[in-house]
Chain length 312, copies 2
């Protein structure tokens, strides 16, 4: 049995990335019901909202699920208390130091994975004693590494230095890219963008449609001075681009950002002035489908592609 | 039999990328002798120098080999005349429009592949009637696409729209990444950086050593206004970075570049002031080895990794 499946008690080694404004209880439950691991994205939730989403997920699936917790916000410890109270079995932490909460979470019986984008932090994950590492490439929707290392380069590098179960992220939205990730040495994959464009995601329908329409070159990795994210190119992106070109300071950038622009874009559907975070793989997403169909076709394509790989 | 092997009459679907100052006759012949396809990099050669390299390659191997011809230089038509005179069987064109020379080369009995970095140019390749397409991701040493699409995203996209034999490039330097490229839908791989750090490449020994020492984040895609290339970070890179940050015009950039800086760096070994073009995969290259060992270990690792891919 695959070690990621065994670790989390799931059927397929497919993790749904926790994404602000897009991954609530409905998406997480759908992914877990379809045999993957659904994650509630806590980044855009107040603690009481997170609690509601956890309770609704538990009501909607009997399968394991988790919470993604970006370590960027003031309320992290309140979030953790909710997670422990509600007996969530799995937490994926990201955008911070894995040494901070891993042992505390594990003491509370929670399985912990942490998201990194370079070897240095992969080794910190080992030191922290995480159960799994997510290594995320430049092509991902965010939060990406400053080194811009892409998935095909990153995964063999990380594999070389860690034995911990390894999940690849960035550029994975179909069975071919999933198989590629496993070929690179990953034990499983984390899929973000493809699940944003699912029926069950809480992304605004117009955002889903924009993902379907996105082509090569329609995203760019931005905000490298603050927290790197990949943006779909709209008015908001142009504003950020202008500030970056003017070499604006961090405070000016943060001031500009600090207006709920991500919610405005991804959740409320303002396709011009909102912040739209998405991966490069959006260029290869052509439809909005139910989660069960997405997972089913990924696995079918994975198997078909595996059968036809030349032995050489 | 694999279609790339059949097309070029080679044992393994491994193409050695044609690289200025690094891929002369010795490298090309070594790759062809080891069962791959060696390419002489014409970009840094005067026509008479190219002729000498072709003749030496013919003397050093009985296997098929080719010439890589970046369509950037004034002497392209003289190069083509040399290639036809010397009966070179295979040409890889790059950095230009495939419609320009493909039919002329093919009329002269030459097999033609063209290097692209997006779907638009892949379709132009089909229109031009090329025999194979090389699709090159953001992580490659150059010349990269403006869209910054990475290999894991690019290959499934191109595979979806073209049936032409497809060669993946960018981030491929080991058996794992080779297998990943095939999983993505490629029929073969083009390998650049890994062969620069080979015994037989004409790169300066100090450049080879710098590749071995390179870590994550030590390269960056630069010169996007002119011809995008990925540079190892040294003084030359810092100068370019400064000009780009000052939003210097193309003429100022070209003036700065127009001093044989690539030769100075990669061939003559000035590790500070020379231009050092290399891929992200340099972070995963730990030694300088003979070409035969490089190819042997790639194939061994490919086979081992293929055997252990989970069926799911």
């Amino acid at each position: 049995m695959n070690n990621i499946c065994e670790l989390f008690g799931i059927q397929y080694p497919i993790i749904q990335g926790g994404m602000i404004w897009c991954s609530g209880w409905e998406l997480a439950a759908a992914v877990s019901n379809a045999g993957g691991l659904g994650l509630i994205g806590a980044g855009s939730m107040y603690p009481d909202v997170l609690r509601t989403h956890i309770q609704k997920t538990k009501a909607a699936t009997n399968n394991p699920f988790g919470v993604n917790l970006p370590l960027l916000y003031k309320q992290t410890e309140e979030h953790i208390q909710v997670i422990i109270d509600e007996k969530v079995p799995i937490v994926f932490t990201s955008a911070g130091n894995p040494l901070k909460y891993t042992s505390y979470l594990k003491k509370n019986g929670i399985k912990v994975a942490h998201v990194i984008a370079n070897t240095k932090f992969a080794l910190k994950c080992v030191e922290a004693g995480v159960d799994a590492i997510v290594a995320e490439g430049f092509e991902a929707g965010g939060h990406n590494g400053f080194e811009e290392t892409t998935t095909i380069t990153l995964i063999p590098l990380i594999r070389k230095v860690v034995e911990t179960p390894l999940i690849a992220a960035g550029g994975i939205g179909c069975g071919k890219s999933m198989l590629a990730a496993m070929a690179l040495g990953a034990d499983g994959v984390q899929v973000g963008s493809r699940f944003v464009a699912s029926k069950e995601s809480s992304a605004h329908p117009d955002f889903k449609q924009n993902i379907v329409e996105a082509k090569e070159g329609d995203t760019e990795l931005m905000l490298k001075k603050i927290v790197p994210v990949r943006l779909l190119k709209n008015n908001f992106y142009q504003e950020i681009k202008k500030l970056e070109n003017e070499r604006a300071g961090i405070s000016k950038m943060v001031e500009h950002l600090g207006k709920g622009r991500a919610k405005k874009g991804m959740f409320e559907g303002d396709m011009l002035e909102g912040e739209l975070e998405i991966g490069q793989v959006s260029a290869n997403i052509d439809n909005v489908k139910p989660v069960s169909e997405i997972i089913h076709s990924m696995i079918e394509e994975y198997r078909a592609q595996l059968r036809q790989l030349p032995k050489l």
